[in-house]
Each structure stands twice: as C-alpha cells, then as structure tokens.
Homo-oligomer: 210 residues x 2
Amino acid sequence: MLKTLTEQYGYLFEDDLLQEINEVGIYKEIDPGTKLIEIGDYIKSMPLLIEGAIKILREDEKGDELILYFIEQGDTCAMTLSCCLGSSKSEIRAIAETDTKLIMIPVEKMESWLGKYKTWQKFILQSYHDRMTELLEAVDTIAFLKMDERLFKYLKDKAMVNHNEVIIVTHQDIANDLHTSRVVISRILKKLEINGKIELSRNSIKILDL
Amino acid sequence: MLKTLTEQYGYLFEDDLLQEINEVGIYKEIDPGTKLIEIGDYIKSMPLLIEGAIKILREDEKGDELILYFIEQGDTCAMTLSCCLGSSKSEIRAIAETDTKLIMIPVEKMESWLGKYKTWQKFILQSYHDRMTELLEAVDTIAFLKMDERLFKYLKDKAMVNHNEVIIVTHQDIANDLHTSRVVISRILKKLEINGKIELSRNSIKILDL
DNA sequence: TAGTTAGTGTAACTATTGTTACAATAAACA
DNA sequence: TGTTTATTGTAACAATAGTTACACTAACTA
C-alpha cells in the first residue's frame, strides 16, 4: 500500500505521515454502485481516494435525490471530515461511480494528525475549500441553468470521471440524479441527439461534443 | 473591545487567544446595505461577527444574484477562511443585512493561530462545518422547494435575523435575492396575504405565521 | 421460441414560472 | 400644490418543466 500511497500523496505529505497512514489505514477496493455512506450514518473513518470516482447525493424528506458532484482521485470527502470532527450524522449519500480504490483512516488519527502534521492540516483545510467550491458550482448549476444545460453538463461530467465518452446509464437513472422525470430526460436527450451533441443507444449514451 | 469579545467568544477561546485577538483585531461598525466582500476580491482579513447579520450572495455570469444564507453573531465567514487559506478570490458577495459589529483579523494571524491554539483550530473547523451545512440547506431550498415555499422561508429567515416580524423590503429586492421576477413575487405575496400568512404594506411585510 | 420485463419514444395535457404591458397609488420633491 | 418617481396589482400570454398514457422494441428467461 505504501507504494501507491506515495505515488498519490507523496508530494503532499511528509514521510512520517505517509508511514503512519500506511500503518493505520485500511486499503479497500470497491465495485461501482456500492454505497459508501448513507444519510444519517455516523462516520467513524474517512476515505482517501486513490483511484476511481464517487458520486455525492443529497436527498429531501420525500426521498427525492439530487446529485451534488463527483469526487475523484486525490480528493477526500469533506462532508466526512465535517461529520467526523463534529461527530454529527452524515448529510449526504456517497456511492461509488466507478471501480474505486481507497484508504480508510480512523477518526482518532485524523484528529490527532491535525496537531502533529502541518501538511495534514493543510490538506484538510484545502479539502474543505475544494468541496465548498464544488458545492457552490452545484448551486450555480441548479439555480442558474435550465434542464437541458444541466443535463448536458451532467453527461460531460460523468464521461469525464469514467474516462470514457460512452456512458452506461438509463434515462431513469439520469432522471433520479437530476431530480426530474424520465420523460423530461428522454425528451431533452432526443433534442441533443438531433443537434448532434450525443448519440443514443439502449443503456448507453455517446458524448460527441466533449 | 476585550469586554465584548469575552462576552461573545469567551466560552470558546482561551485568555491568551482573546488577548491576541484584542491586540491585532480591528473593531468595525457597519451600516445595513454596506458591501463587505465582492466577488473576485482577494481577502486579507477575516471577520468575527459580534452583532448583526450578513447576507451571503452568489452571482452568475449574467449578473443575476441569488441569496445563499445569512450569517449571524458568533459566526464567521467560511468562504473568507477558504479564500484566505487558499489565497484565492472570493466566490461570493457579502452585504450587511442589519447594523453590524465585527472584528477583522489579519490573515497571517489566523494562519499562525491554527498551529498555536487548539480552540482556534476547532473554531475554524466548526465554522467550515456550519457553512457546509448551510450551503446544503440552500441547495435543498433551491432544488426541492417551489417558489411559494422558498419565498415564505426567505421572509421568515429575514424576520429572524432582523429580530422583527415586520421586514422592510420591496418586492423587487426579494425578486433579486431569489433570482426571479418582481411580478412573480408580487403574485405569490398576494396569495400569502389571502391565506393569512402575511400582511402587505408599501415597502414592508409583516409575517404573521412565524 | 414465446412470453415477460426493462428501456425508450412520443403525444397530449397540466402546472409552474417567467414576460410584457399597463393601470393605480403612495411617496418624494421641486 | 402639481409633477415625478417608485412601488404595487393584475391581466394576458409564453416558455419550461412535470404528468399521464400508451406504443414499440431490445433483452432476458422460462
């Protein structure tokens, strides 16, 4: 594990810290679709993403979902930080988008390292900043864009984190992520196809205008 | 200044830190409507709120605004933290909602205190957490509520931070904050009045169902 | 291979929100 | 006091998004 760790985080953390992470961190490989965090969960460890992507979702009282953003390699989940340090419940749901490799760090360590390692402190603060920025972008998307623009952005983002211009997804899946209905998605997708931006197939969409 | 500081933050910070804040902090009184932070600004000091409330706004490329939330006494602006520590530009606009008293802390201090004072570190992390939570609530409001619910929530929030069930505002002001048109706001306000939730007057609205 | 299920296409309609236009009136001001 | 400006009310209409209903077909399965 130390090798991959050094490759991914070597430029960020000093050797002592890398060593400690190596000792207490638990390496995990996750399949796409696996639920990592559920709303209301108490979090006892935080994930360091080595490879892959995780989809972060918000839900309202009625159970309607909404995608907030994807996190990728080199990131961690600031919501988790937030929950761990405040020892409160998770406000979000996290689902593996792709094959994912990560290292789980126990809460106690993550707190004590804040005082011990300057680079860790910096990493945690930077993570908060990044997640804040992404949340603001999510607000922009929801508040200022119309559904057709939101959908196209979603398709591009998904293609990006999957490293593939062909995404495997049904119209219903998309509707759930964007908090709208399947009919609305099908309607707009057809328009996008007519405009030459995508190619539709059963269970998959090819993004042409990346 | 030390007295008000101790009253507001005494339970949070140790005496040494309070003393330091007292030495380097600059006390300011701000009138309602004053712009504290503009989008794109480089931030060189962070505000500790002593009294009053500040409105945090987001803007898109076309210049359309959208309120994110209000921050109140005991809070600080996590966006400011975020910008200071990352030395990046402000992503938001901050405008005094009421008469506001605050203490400005220079960036250098705020960074060095992170290593020096555990309570300061905790305060900063807690602030990030709080702001994250509020941003998520803003997302909920925008994504899951209809305009009439959003408007009523806005009116209640505004009454709350102003400590007054009568709020001084025009329909146009509200439309700007909620990123919609004046006609839409007037229409819904009239409905709310008919339903006995508010009383309308020129330039002011009384919230009955607080 | 026939039957079933999941996914997609499309029409018709409703609901919500946004836009344009203009009248009425209160407040500010010269 | 008469004029101007800001604010609000309302109608009529347009655009966008959400809903219901049903047909069609690819893929799976018994």
